[in-house]
């Protein structure tokens, strides 16, 4: 595949961001490659009802 890019004027006024979190990136510039991976686990088994049991120690 041939991919042709013409970068003309890029002029941005205001960027308002609440949060950049969990290995996220906010970049003003050029980059060759970006590779992002995330796992987020909140399954039914992680809802524990009953007496508070401490988690496995460190």
């Amino acid at each position: 595949m041939n991919y042709q890019v013409y970068n003309r004027d890029v002029c941005v006024g205001t960027i308002r961001v609440l949060g950049v979190s969990s290995s996220s990136v906010l970049i003003v510039g050029d980059t060759n490659s970006i590779q992002l991976a995330a796992t987020f686990d909140t399954p039914a088994e992680s809802l524990l009802v009953g007496p508070f049991v401490p988690l496995t120690p460190e």
């Binding site: 890019v5 979190s21 906010l26 796992t39």
Partner: protein, 131 residues
């Protein structure tokens, strides 16, 4: 390929935490990694030295990345090699995140989060006003 120059007139970041980076200038390689056990309890109950990443497979399972098999030829023409931003306003940057003004090479970021909630038994609710 000539890279562009970034112009940011004003940037305001309120909070940066947990190994986050604010970089002004170019970089060639960025690798970020963060992992967290987010435990929410219905009552304030704290234990020191609890929580072990090795118990939960989410922190060790491989995250597959599909290889790019398509033959790719990129040609970029910089007709106006400037990226202009007047104002950036960020409230928080957290957990190995990056705010970068400038060019970079290869960026690779990974995040693994495990959520756990511990609740009271409903019939044994110690805070009946919440019902």
């Amino acid at each position: 390929m000539l890279n562009r120059t970034s112009f940011v007139d004003k940037i305001n970041i309120d909070t940066m935490s947990f190994s986050s980076v604010f970089e002004i200038g170019d970089s060639c390689s960025i690798q970020g990694f963060s992992r967290a056990i987010a435990l929410q309890r219905e009552a304030e109950y704290f234990n020191t030295r609890e929580g072990n990443y090795s118990v939960y497979p989410i922190f060790s399972e491989p995250i597959p990345l599909l290889p790019i098999e398509e033959e790719l030829t990129i040609h970029t023409s910089q007709l106006n090699p400037i990226i202009k931003v007047q104002t950036i306003d960020i409230i928080g940057v957290s957990s190995s995140s990056i705010v970068h003004i400038g060019n970079s090479g290869n960026i690779s970021m990974e995040s693994r989060v495990k959520h756990i909630r511990q609740l009271f038994q409903k019939n044994n609710n110690r805070n009946p006003s919440r019902d």
